[in-house]
Each structure stands twice: as structure tokens, then as C-alpha cells.
């Protein structure tokens, strides 16, 4: 290189270095933004309570899941039985508390299956493009063309009703939306310079996708997953409602709703409380999902 001013040797004078004192990771900033949204906090509180009750069900529930007592059938909500009892004399509150275990399991695991399988397919499709992209996405379109509850019903019907099969069925039927979301974000990120920089230092495709593209595509995936848990719980409840899901006497909310339906004219509480629980859970997850969407993408917020 030619004439260079020797006074500036390329080092910065230390005095002008100004860095924020607090080291904030980007996730921490997301949390700060999320905290500002009251709705999201209400949603989060509902989810935390639910998780809490699932973990400590043994301590919270006054009775077991199948403690029948035909002498106290159809007891209305009272001090002794907070939500009343059902047609077999079981304490509904206890069953709902235990039911949260099943619902949360189904919700999170089904979404896990869907996000993992759909996400990897979407990432591959978006990153490699061309025929592979076309092939994968058309297969997803086929899945998408079948109503998801119908697809889930046929999968469970083929595999037989059990907790694991419900998870698989719900997972597969909600896979296409993850594939689409991940593919779309991969497409926008893969042309950025830092991906090129990674190629320049010799990173292989797997590393580029996992370390460079996916972490930057997390925001929409997290939002979709949060909302997806709600959908999965609802689908599982729906499957149980029509008898294809979790089998009695296991206290699944959907099947409790189904069995309570026969007595709804005389004993409203049997069907109402499981239904309310489902509603509040879905409501909480949706609130949290919406809040996360705003918090993760500050550009959307005004």
C-alpha cells in the first residue's frame, strides 16, 4: 500500500470506546419486551400454573384419577368437591389436575415432533432449493390439503388409540405449517453475507444451517410452536372426545367432556369444567404466542 499517515497506526484510541455496561443477550431483550405486554404475562401465568399443576399433581389433587364412589355421584360443586363429581362419583377437580399432565405432554411432544420433522424438511427445502424444494413442499401441500383433524383421525385409526399414537398423529398433521415457516425464513437468511462468510471460512452445509441460519430463524418458529401447542392440545382433546384418543379411565380433558355431555341437561358441571379448562389453556397459550410474536419482532410493533 502507498503513503500512509504514520500517526494513525490502525489502533483505536482507548478513550473513545463506549460500550453499554450491561451485557444483554438478545434473548434478554426479548424478555424485557415481553414483560411489557400484560396479555402475554397473563398467558404466561396460566401456562406456568398449568405446568406447576402437572408436575405437582400428586400434591394438589385431593383424590386419585379413578377413585369411584357410587354413593356420591353427580355431586354439585361444593366445599368438599370444588368442581363436583361425575357419574361414577369421581372428583372432577382431581381428574382435571391429573389431566393437565396428559394434555401438556401431548401438546409439547406433538409440537416437538412437528417442529423437528417439519422444520428440518423446510430447512432442507429452503437451503438447497430446486427439485428437492419442489418435491418436499408438494408433499407438504398434500398433507395440508387434508383437514388436519381428519388426517389425525385416520392416523390414529390406523395405529390404534394410545397416548403415543395421538402425539404422532397430531405431530404429523401439523408438520406442514412448520415446514413452510422454516423454509420461508431460510430463504431470506441464506442470501445474507454472514452465510457467505461462513462458506468462505470452510463451513459445510450442515453447520451453516444449524449454526447460522436456524438461530436467526427462531423467532417465527417459537411463535408458531407456542400457538401450535394450543392447537395440539385441542386436537388431542378432539380425538379423545370422539373416543380415538386417550382411553378411560385416564383423565383426558376431551374424554371427560365427552362423558359429561350425556348428563349436561341435569348436571352442568361435569362437562363445563373440563371445557373451561381447555378454553383457558388455549387462551393462555394464544396470548403468550401473540406476545412472543410482538416481542421477537420489534419491527412489527409500533
Amino acid at each position: 500500500m502507498a503513503n500512509v499517515n504514520p500517526a494513525m497506526d490502525g489502533k483505536i484510541p482507548q478513550a473513545d470506546v463506549k460500550i453499554a455496561k450491561k451485557k444483554r443477550s438478545q434473548w434478554f431483550e426479548v424478555w424485557l419486551r415481553l414483560k411489557k405486554s400484560k396479555a402475554a404475562m397473563v398467558g404466561l401465568a396460566i401456562i406456568v400454573i398449568l405446568i406447576f399443576s402437572a408436575i405437582f399433581a400428586d400434591f394438589i389433587a385431593p383424590e386419585g384419577i379413578d377413585d369411584q364412589d357410587l354413593d356420591r355421584r353427580f355431586v354439585s360443586p361444593s366445599a368438599e368437591h370444588f368442581m363436583g363429581t361425575d357419574h361414577l362419583g369421581r372428583d372432577i377437580f382431581s381428574r382435571i389436575v391429573y389431566g393437565s399432565r396428559i394434555s401438556l405432554q401431548v401438546g409439547f411432544i406433538a409440537v416437538g415432533i412437528a417442529a423437528l420433522a417439519g422444520g428440518s424438511l423446510g430447512a432442507i427445502a429452503g437451503y438447497y432449493g430446486g427439485k428437492l424444494d419442489n418435491g418436499i413442499m408438494r408433499a407438504m401441500d398434500i398433507l395440508l390439503a387434508i383437514p388436519s383433524i381428519l388426517l389425525a383421525i385416520s392416523i390414529v385409526a390406523a395405529l390404534g388409540p394410545s397416548l403415543a399414537n395421538v402425539m404422532i398423529a397430531v405431530g404429523i398433521s401439523s408438520m406442514p405449517s412448520y415446514a413452510r415457516i422454516v423454509r420461508a425464513s431460510v430463504l431470506t437468511i441464506k442470501d445474507q453475507e454472514f452465510v457467505e462468510a461462513a462458506k468462505a471460512i470452510g463451513a459445510n452445509d450442515l453447520r451453516i444451517i444449524i449454526k447460522h441460519i436456524l438461530p436467526n430463524a427462531m423467532a417465527p418458529i417459537i411463535v408458531q410452536a407456542t400457538l401450535g401447542v394450543a392447537g395440539a392440545i385441542l386436537s388431542a382433546a378432539g380425538l379423545s372426545f370422539i373416543g380415538l384418543g386417550i382411553q378411560p379411565p385416564n383423565p383426558e380433558w376431551g374424554s371427560m367432556l365427552a362423558s359429561g355431555r350425556h348428563y349436561i341437561r341435569d348436571y352442568w358441571h361435569i362437562a363445563t369444567f373440563p371445557g373451561l379448562t381447555i378454553m383457558i389453556t388455549i387462551f393462555g397459550l394464544n396470548l403468550l404466542g401473540d406476545g412472543l410474536r410482538d416481542a421477537l419482532d420489534p419491527r412489527l410493533k409500533n
Binding site: 500500500m1 502507498a2 503513503n3 500512509v4 499517515n5 494513525m8 497506526d9 490502525g10 489502533k11 483505536i12 482507548q14 470506546v17 460500550i19 453499554a20 451485557k23 444483554r24 443477550s25 438478545q26 445474507q192 453475507e193 454472514f194 457467505e196 462468510a197 461462513a198 462458506k199 468462505a200 471460512i201 470452510g202 463451513a203 459445510n204 453447520r207 449454526k211 447460522h212 438461530p215 436467526n216
Partner: protein
């Protein structure tokens, strides 16, 4: 004569577009001697950044040859190329886009070392990262900071440290300072100059800023619409440009003296589209010396002596 580190022969890169083949790089020839800086100038869209990326095989060339220390790297397999990448690195234009926002400074600088398994122990690697940060003038306490917390100059230093991590011989500088403030530009340019001297690096310096290119380059290649029209050392080029395009380009540099007026050559018309360009000289439509031969024959780079090359039918007579 100095040893040639990089030699590019008849390099072509075409992109398929809906309206036809886009000739981004169309038969480019140049060479870079060891330890020198070749400035690659040209206006936006003339293919200079594409050339830089094709030379590193970040984009695959359509045709041509790229020799690195006498070996054609276009023949290399993916695996060989991965080895090769240790030798040749790139610093990007936009320090806001070229750093992964989810990785900390240390992670970014350590990544090339990690991928190429340079060190077996984590301690050695951390030591090297600190060394690199010191080399490029980044304070040690910035290790765990994320790029979005830093200004453009410091981000560009991270980019440089990443490029240096594997001890390359050759670095493509793709407009490394055009996104920075003028005061920061000087710091970064001086840093790169110091590194070149200390580490014996060879640069391909891509820029549209003539004053910057003049400042850093030993030799300059001028590109117009996918072709190199003039290749020469910087002194002779600024004293007596041979190609009409270079002449027009240099006449546009303002003279920092009161009362002195330079004769400006005003180019007419626009840069023609690089999609399916016609035969003949690319500069034909805008050249004030054009004649019939320019429309029929594409001028090739001619040796004018003293390592000066010009692609013009009337070179030396203008």
C-alpha cells in the same frame, strides 16, 4: 519481476435471468503479485464484487481459469477447496450483514479455527482469539459482546480478525470501507496496510471509490460492464490513463486546489444492460473516440509495456 500469487484468465460468470443471460463477469484477465494490492475499480453493477466472489469460489465460475500459486483452483474438488480456503479469505462490504447477529465476538472470530480444527484445546483457541483481537485493535473486554452492540468500525475489525484467523496469504477486500464514516475509513485502511506489511498479505481491493483505491493500491484494474479495460500500476494510471473510460473516470476526481480546473470528460448515455450484450467494445455507445471497428471487434487486453495493459483498439493513440 515479482512472483504472481493469483492469476485470472478469461474468467466468466453468467447468471440466468428471465430476460436472458446476464454477463456479470465476461472474460476478465488480471494477475496479482505476491505482497501487493490490486485495486479493482468500476461503477456499481460492473461485476467487481462478483469477480471477487468467483475468485474465492463462493460463486462457481461459468468459464475460465484461476491460478493460485500456479494451480488452477477451479479444478479442485469440494474437499480440496475447503483446504484451500485457509489460504484465501474475504472481508465483506457491510459489517452489519456479514456478522451473525446471534454469535458473540469471540464465537465469530473462533469459528474459522473451530471449523478447520486448528487447535485441539479450547485454551489454545481462546488465546489465539485474544491475539487476533489485539492484532486488529479490539479491546479484550469486547469478547462476549454481540455485534449489534458495536459500531461499524469495530464490526469491520471483527470481520478482519475472522479473515486473519487462518493465516491466509490472500484476502479479497470487497469494499471494506464503503459502509463506514470517513474517519473510521482511515483507521480501517491503515489497519489493513499495517497487517499487509506485518503478515505479508496480498490483497484484491474492490472499491468504487477512486481516492481510496489510489491510496491503497500498488496496481489498479478498471472494470467496465464485466470486462477489465485497463490494468496498470497506480502512478502511471493516474498520470496518463490509456483507456477512454479510465480517462473519463479520472477526470471526475475533484482537484483540491483553488482556481485549478480540470478538463472534465462528461460521459453521455447510460451503462448498457449486461444481459445479452452485443459484440464489439462494451464502451462503444459512450466513447468519444468510437469508430466502426469498435462496434465489430471486441478489443482484447494489449500489453503496452511496463506491465500496463489496455483493452482498446486505439490504445496509445488517444
Amino acid at each position: 519481476m515479482a512472483k504472481k500469487l493469483i492469476e485470472v484468465k478469461n474468467l466468466k460468470k453468467y447468471f440466468e435471468t428471465k430476460r436472458g443471460l446476464l454477463h456479470a463477469v465476461d472474460g476478465v484477465n488480471f494477475y496479482i503479485n505476491e505482497g501487493e494490492t490490486l485495486g479493482l475499480v468500476g461503477e456499481s453493477g460492473c461485476g467487481k464484487s462478483t469477480t471477487g466472489r468467483v475468485v474465492l469460489r463462493l460463486l462457481e465460475a461459468t468459464d475460465g481459469e484461476i491460478f493460485f500459486e500456479g494451480k488452477n483452483i477451479l479444478d479442485y474438488s469440494k474437499q480440496q477447496m475447503r483446504e484451500m480456503r485457509r489460504q484465501m479469505q474475504i472481508v465483506f462490504q457491510d459489517p452489519f450483514a456479514s456478522l451473525n447477529p446471534r454469535m458473540s465476538v469471540a464465537q465469530i472470530i473462533a469459528e474459522p479455527l473451530e471449523i478447520n480444527k486448528v487447535y485441539s484445546s479450547k485454551a489454545e483457541m481462546n488465546k489465539k482469539v485474544k491475539e487476533l483481537m489485539d492484532t486488529v485493535g479490539l479491546a479484550e473486554r469486547l469478547v462476549n459482546v454481540y455485534p449489534h452492540e458495536l459500531d461499524g468500525g469495530r464490526r469491520q475489525r471483527i470481520g478482519i480478525a475472522r479473515a486473519l484467523a487462518l493465516n491466509p496469504k490472500f484476502i479479497v477486500q470487497d469494499e471494506p470501507v464503503s459502509a463506514l464514516d470517513v474517519s473510521i475509513q482511515a483507521q480501517i485502511l491503515n489497519l489493513m496496510d499495517r497487517l499487509q506489511k506485518e503478515l505479508g498479505l496480498t490483497y484484491l481491493f474492490i472499491s468504487h471509490d477512486l481516492s481510496v483505491v489510489k491510496h491503497v493500491s500498488d496496481r489498479i484494474a478498471v472494470m467496465y460492464l464485466g470486462k477489465v479495460v485497463e490494468l496498470s500500476d497506480y502512478k502511471s494510471m493516474f498520470k496518463s490513463p490509456l483507456h477512454p473510460y479510465t480517462q473519463a473516470l479520472l477526470s471526475a476526481i475533484p482537484v483540491p486546489e483553488i482556481g485549478v480546473k480540470r478538463e472534465r470528460i462528461i460521459l453521455e448515455g447510460d451503462v448498457p444492460s449486461p444481459i445479452n450484450p452485443p459484440e464489439g467494445c462494451r464502451f462503444y455507445g459512450r466513447c468519444r473516440h468510437r469508430q466502426d471497428i469498435c462496434k465489430q471487434q471486441t478489443p482484447q487486453l494489449k500489453d503496452m509495456g511496463n506491465e500496463r495493459y489496455v483493452a482498446c483498439h486505439f490504445a496509445g493513440n488517444l
